[in-house]
Amino acid sequence: MNGVPSSTFFSAPPDWGWLIALYFFFGGLAGGCYFLASLIDLFGRSEDRPLSHLGYYIAFPCIAIGGLLLTVDLGRPERFWHMLIESNTYRPMFKYWSPMSIGSWAVMIFGIFAFVSFLGALADSERIPWAAWRKVHPPSLLGRCIAVIGGIFGFYVAGYTGVLLAVTNRPIWSDTPLLGMLFIVSAASTSAALMILLAKKSRWTMPGILDLHRMDAWVIALEFIVLIALMISLGPVFRAWLSAWGLLLLIGVIGVGMLVPLALSWRTQWLGDWNMKTTAVLILLGGFLLRLVIVFSAQGV
């Protein structure tokens, strides 16, 4: 093929830059933190409830920032509503086969759930005096329903971005079906890391922090396996990563963001009290670099 490994090399880059990479990161944190918060609410202990509150406190601002980043990135930001309403007919705009179309709806619906749960968590922890809002927070039946549905939408928001990249014709993005899976797993690992970091900063000692830390080690191991599988699935297109971006992926994402945190989780005595915090910071850094590499490397080809 004249030295070109795939027909995807003839498409043009969409110039999705820093705003989109940041959205992928914040969207992942929003969805992942909500999912973890609902998981703690549904399966965890009562003493871990502040941790679930923390998840909801992170989710809403992150998805609000994400929505803002997406809007600002548009060529015509004042037309952001065209994603949801057909501008000529004023009918709902929805294409189930277009990830960006479903994703726009998912971001909006998840944003509503995140906002409701944010207020519910504030009420449940008595930070706001609106006792009625406690009903939207578990363990009430309504609260459990909101946590389950919101958690599903949260994970959708965390993962659809990878599917969106796959449903293009760009090199790397559309040469593997594993980006969505990678983004979901990475959203879980970075979210757990951020929750651990903020909980430790507040000097919390509930057992759920250790649960999160142990879970994060498993998730990072899974993320490592998915990333290696993704690299293999690229086949000859993998050579597009024989660049500075590939080096960043190897050192920043795999080395610093996955292998070092795994080693620190395995040898907890290495850094003593700093072990958990350091692991969390490295996982967050690796998750951010992963999104940078994915967004920028495919556009530089």
């Binding site: 043009a12 110039d15 037309r79 599917v163 079906p177 797993v185 899974l222």
Partner: protein
């Protein structure tokens, strides 16, 4: 619906005059300068460089010469949107701005597009880009406004060698097949049609007669629809969510709580 219309481009008679580019820009009122940057590309006689939001026609100059330059040939090709029967851009567009017209051509409605750029990454030919003036994605409309009043598109009208031919797809295919036969009988065995049959994205309503491999002209040999990945990517994402969910439930279920509580003490 009117009969499907389109372009047949015979690259063997293109002389690289760029009349099509000029006619396109003139009719569609596209800026003639690239944001004021009137630099030379250094790539043969091609200073247009690529199709984008303000260049809806692009004449490619491909030089094929031996090292001593004693023998060689020019390949010239006026590139444009392919108006695919199965159009990737139309498929992914989340605003419904990209539509199919009654002439079976693909048009971006400028009042509906919000510049999300999903279509740019979906097009397998790299045709679409943002027009920096309007902030929206733009490309060839196959002169939809002219077609509506029974006129021929500006580029084919201006082409002095009939390299770009406009007409109904059936009629154009007939003409193109005869031309391939003529060329092959004359000794040009490499002549073939690119995108004329339904195998390529259901057929390209702007198809080409080429005399070398598609990639030599900057065309993908095997363009595909972006939604080919929708199902597998969604399934793997679901698998990821299930695995993470199981890991989470396994780690958070309330077991051995007192022991861990002690462990968590600083």
């Amino acid at each position: 619906m009117a009969e499907p219309m389109g372009f047949y481009t015979d690259t063997t008679v293109c002389i690289g005059c760029k009349a099509c580019e000029v006619a396109c820009k003139e009719w569609n009122q596209l800026p003639s300068t690239n944001g004021g940057e009137n630099t030379l590309s250094g790539d043969s006689y091609d200073n247009t460089r690529k199709l984008d939001g303000i260049h809806w026609r692009h004449v490619k100059f491909i030089e094929q010469f031996t090292e001593d330059r004693k023998d060689g040939r020019w390949l010239l090709m006026s590139d444009v949107c392919k108006h695919c029967v199965h159009a990737a851009c139309l498929e992914v567009c989340p605003t419904g701005a990209i539509t199919r017209t009654e002439f079976d051509t693909v048009v971006i409605q400028s009042d509906a597009c919000n510049g999300c750029r999903d279509c740019i990454s979906a097009c397998p030919f790299g045709v679409i880009d943002i027009n920096p003036v309007s902030g929206i994605a733009q490309k060839c409309t196959l002169c939809y406004d002219r077609l509506q009043v029974g006129m021929e598109p500006a580029c084919s009208k201006a082409c002095p060698t009939e390299s770009i031919q406009f007409g109904t797809i059936n009629e154009l295919k007939g003409r193109a097949e005869k031309r391939v036969e003529q060329l092959q009988q004359g000794g040009e065995k490499r002549a073939y049609l690119y995108g004329a049959d339904e195998k390529m994205l259901g057929g390209l309503n702007s198809f080409y007669l080429l005399v070398d491999k598609p990639e030599v002209y900057g065309l993908p040999p095997d363009p595909k629809m972006p939604t080919r990945n929708l199902k597998p990517a969604s399934m793997f994402s679901l698998l990821g969510a299930v695995l993470v969910g199981l890991i989470g439930i396994f780690n958070f279920r309330d077991r051995g709580a007192p022991a861990r509580k002690e462990e968590a003490q600083p």
